[in-house]
Symmetry: C2
């Protein structure tokens, strides 16, 4: 490929509205361009990287015995009504009415394909002999993103690899789940991503039924908890907290008398702390929920965050919602922001996070408008019905496995594996006859990868001040050839010969044949981040040498022209397999890979 | 690949609602399944053929120097308003409102991408130095199909290769147009399609500015005109008709006196013929149009079809529409169906197709309700303002180039190349600075291929009573290996060794490892249409031989087990390049390929 024959609109300036590295660099390097908020076009270089990611995903899925198909994006809305997902998706679901003659056809643009694939399986699979089977596709999904942001990380149209597995037994599901987990590790390793597989919510199957694959990145919207000692890793919803038992009856300081204080208009932790000149860790938040229809109170320390997944699990309820202002007023007798545990136990059950029990002389709402109570002490002044783990883990909490202090990292979710169970097969009537001819419901798993996020995640985790740093396996071109003087026929001929030889030996390269200064070419090469740069200059040519430089190295090396193509080919092919050169620089960036089934 | 590990739901019966071979066979062979009217899922085998077509298209586009990108399906409706295509597409355009916070975003799902690509070019291309450039994508299009039918041939969601070229001059456009034309010929040849490139409407550029690529097929919805003597080919709108001049003043029979006859309620050609016991060729249809705002009459022989493209061209008008009943009544004084040329000349201009002039003692409308006139003769009773070619060509008309009788064929449109000119670049402000720094509008071409139609078109043109006949280049698997007894370890081991050896040498094959009778396996192999069938049986094994059969041959041949994989590899690789074996059988089916720029 020649630079002058394609479209690579690099930019010097940071584009307006872009504020994280992947967004800025993908625009500046001419990989993508925005069509509207939440929809991007992949320009030639961007599409090359995207297609390389697609091919890695496809290759590993095929090796794992998965069968590729391609489902339609259009789907009758009735299929989503059968699984109650029109409501569940809400505003995310993109719907349209198609006028056909005098009929209107109600359709959705699929945000995911559990419905379509289960419907297919229900029609074509009927015997245990046809199971297990893994079906997958690499296909465009549509989801209305209320707040599209961060470039291609959060959009309304994106490319997803979604796989679905079908089984006669939980054991068979577990086996495929492990295989997919291993496949995902291979995929993200081949892509050079510093990923971490973390435990995620378990869903209907229970146990370790769901893992998210996270790219560690300072700008990630997700937070993950990670124990560097034993390898325990979980997302925020799921992360357990190790031992933090305390002697509830014994406080370390003198317990003072309760007093009511004025806190006019202060109904947030921040406001109360300001008025009372107290630290948030001295406060007890009293959250009123409706759990399966019944109001309950959950007490959380002021500087902690409630974790609704944990609350649901411990209270053993299906549905949990924050109470409406009306309910709060009825239960507490005060407007929102002034609830407290004192005398509430008579009205509704109180559940307290362990850390709440340790606070001495705490501040709580007074259940009266504009009033709080100070010097409140657990066990003396209130006794919860249940004490447990109701909050998100924080930096330094004990690891639930080894008690070492937990680390907290920002991350980008790039993949998810999930044991679905029979949720969809039950509703869409996907059954099989077992070997004794009795009819059973098919058990399912699902496995997703956001392909665009592989690209953006790589850029987030691998760049420097001058631009992107691609591993050879995802680079738009593995090699950039920079002839220093395009008017010099000898230089251009060598560039073109090298180009042809490299392509013939399976190396993709681009010749920067623009009539530009070296500085401009080098800056663009660094910005785009081609792994290997080859410079052909007058001086080198006189000595029959060309200059090589890896994107991540400072030093250059000279190479004899004689067998340059062969040597470059060997370098690139070795790096494709091992990714070692790239991995070396990236380890110093704080990234790390994870190959095992880390929680087993 | 092993049959038991994938999903191939073949069917014995013709599925309900399917009535053309491609639809029936693609469903029966388990290639596709319908999700809703106008939307299909490609099952594993179907997707394999689709992806082979995609790779052929991509490979040839890249060879032609085109640059692949991937534009979003979502597009703000405002871009379509700028080109007035919201109205032009009408009900075909699929629109949706995305709720984002308290804002509604109006989007369309792109039916084609002239708008998006021209917008990109307007932003990133500014100099003649960046031109010419060809951009293309292989992407899913959405169009509301009022009457989805014929399986994947006419759907609301389909895969399209759409390319757009950008130029500084018409000469440069013409050069790229020729290159694309050649590329399309290569693509369809590699796919084994019996195609014909036909002249199509010229559009704003004029001249030979548009060609359609047609697959000849009895079930095609389009009709093409073809001269087998000189190669002239055009679609119905475009096809010219060779000399059919006649001596208007001289009729061959005695001219009778005009008489008015009763034709109560007869306002179609068919009805009038029935009432008057006449042949349609004796009738003159008087069509009232509004041409650029002015009513005109066009006379066409009763058994011919008016061609509005020709009328527009000859009348040199932009807009032509059939007149409303109100206008017809005002102009003729009679309701629709009773218009005639007599005395109309005083009111509006009359234009007549040449063939109308030859009819002696013709039947025309009387411009009175429920009345027609008989024994009307041109020149004696009416004189048109213009005599010309206003109708569609019919079988046997003279070729406009060589006067040989024209042939009429049904066909499926699979590709279209089109010189767009400046229509979109003008409206979307895509300009460039030429070498004298003056600003000019970019000149465009566009080039589309319906990928799904390649597959359906192949099936339409290449099948027999037992199933599909694939060329190796599109076949879901090139080779099917049928072990005759799956309980026999020796047979299964040979099957599996052959499978592995073939895959390792780059041949894709599937082992039918189902515990089924030979008849079932052979029927499915023929139905799906794998090009080469390999049978491993007990008897053969004893003689160290396996049996080969091409899908299109009746005879089988025996092959020594010794170097079977190598020999099969050579056979398949040779067939990939030449397609000769496939072409031979297909020529006898009446198909033929076309390599040249047939109208130049």
């Amino acid at each position: 490929m020649y630079w002058s024959k394609t479209l690579i609109p690099t930019m010097k300036e940071t584009p307006e509205g872009a504020d994280i590295p992947s967004h800025i660099l993908m625009l500046r390097a001419g990989l993508v361009t925005q069509v509207m908020a939440g929809a991007y076009t992949y320009l030639p270089l961007g599409l090359r990287t995207l297609r390389k990611a697609v091919e890695i995903v496809r290759d590993e899925m095929n090796r794992a015995g998965a069968n590729e198909l391609l489902m339609s994006a259009l789907c009758p809305i009735s299929l989503y009504e059968q699984t109650n997902r029109v409501e569940a998706f809400g505003n995310v679901l993109i719907k349209a009415d198609l006028q056909r003659g005098n009929k209107k056809i109600h359709v959705v643009f699929c945000p995911t394909h559990e419905e379509e694939v289960t419907d297919i399986v229900s029609r074509f699979i009927s015997s245990y002999r046809q199971l297990p089977i893994i079906l997958y596709q690499i296909q465009t999904k549509f989801r209305n993103e209320e707040r599209p942001r961060f470039g291609v990380l959060r959009t309304s149209e994106f490319l997803m690899k979604d796989a679905y597995s079908f089984h006669t037994s939980i054991e068979s599901l577990n086996e495929t789940y492990k295989k997919m987990y291993g496949t995902y590790c291979k995929i993200f390793n081949r892509c050079g991503l510093p990923f971490l597989a973390v435990e995620a919510e378990s869903g209907p199957i229970g146990g370790d039924a769901s893992h998210e694959f996270m790219i560690l990145s300072a700008n990630g919207e997700d937070k993950v908890i990670h124990c560097e000692q034993c390898g325990y890793a979980a997302n925020m919803e799921r992360a357990e907290i190790g031992s933090r038992s305390c002697d509830y009856a014994q406080k370390n300081v003198q317990l003072k008398e309760i007093a009511e204080v004025n806190t006019p208009g202060a109904h947030t932790v921040e406001q109360v702390c300001k008025v009372l000149k107290a630290k948030p860790s001295k406060l007890i938040k009293t959250l009123i929920y409706v759990a399966d229809g019944n109001p309950v109170a959950v007490l959380i320390r002021g500087d902690h965050e409630a974790n609704e997944y944990k609350i649901k699990r411990q209270l053993n309820v299906e549905k949990l919602e924050l109470a409406t202002p009306e309910i709060i007023e009825r239960v507490t007798g005060a407007p929102v922001g002034f609830a407290g545990p004192i005398r509430m136990i008579e009205k509704i059950p109180i559940h307290a996070d362990v850390c709440v029990m340790e606070i001495d002389n705490a501040i709580v709402g007074a259940n009266r408008s504009d009033k709080h109570l100070v010097n409140v002490n657990s066990m003396r002044d209130f006794m919860p019905m249940r004490i447990g783990d109701f909050r998100n883990a924080v930096l330094g909490d004990a690891c639930p496995r080894c008690s070492a202090p937990l680390n907290l990292r920002n991350a980008i979710e790039v993949g998810h594996v999930f044991k679905l169970g029979t949720k969809y097969s039950e509703l869409l009537n996907a059954k099989f006859l077992d070997d004794s001819e009795s009819q059973k419901t098919i058990i399912m798993g699902c496995y997703g990868i956001g392909i665009n996020r592989i690209i953006a995640g790589l850029v987030e985790s691998s760049h420097d001040d001058t631009g992107i740093i691609w591993p050879v396996n995802l680079a738009p071109f593995e090699v950039v050839i920079c002839p220093m003087k395009v008017a010099d026929d000898a230089i251009m001929q060598l560039a073109s010969e090298l180009h042809d030889e490299l392509w013939n030996s399976g190396i993709d390269c681009i010749v920067d044949d623009r009539d530009q200064r070296a500085g401009v070419k080098f800056k663009d090469a660094d910005l785009i981040g081609f792994p290997l740069r080859v410079v052909i200059g007058e001086k080198g040519l006189a000595e029959k040498k060309i200059e090589l430089k890896w994107r991540w190295d400072k030093e250059t090396t000279m190479l004899s022209i004689e067998n340059a193509a062969e040597q470059i080919t060997n370098l690139i092919k070795a790096e494709r397999v091992t990714g070692e050169r790239f991995a070396n620089i990236n380890q110093s960036n704080g990234g790390f890979n994870n190959n095992g089934f880390n929680n087993n």
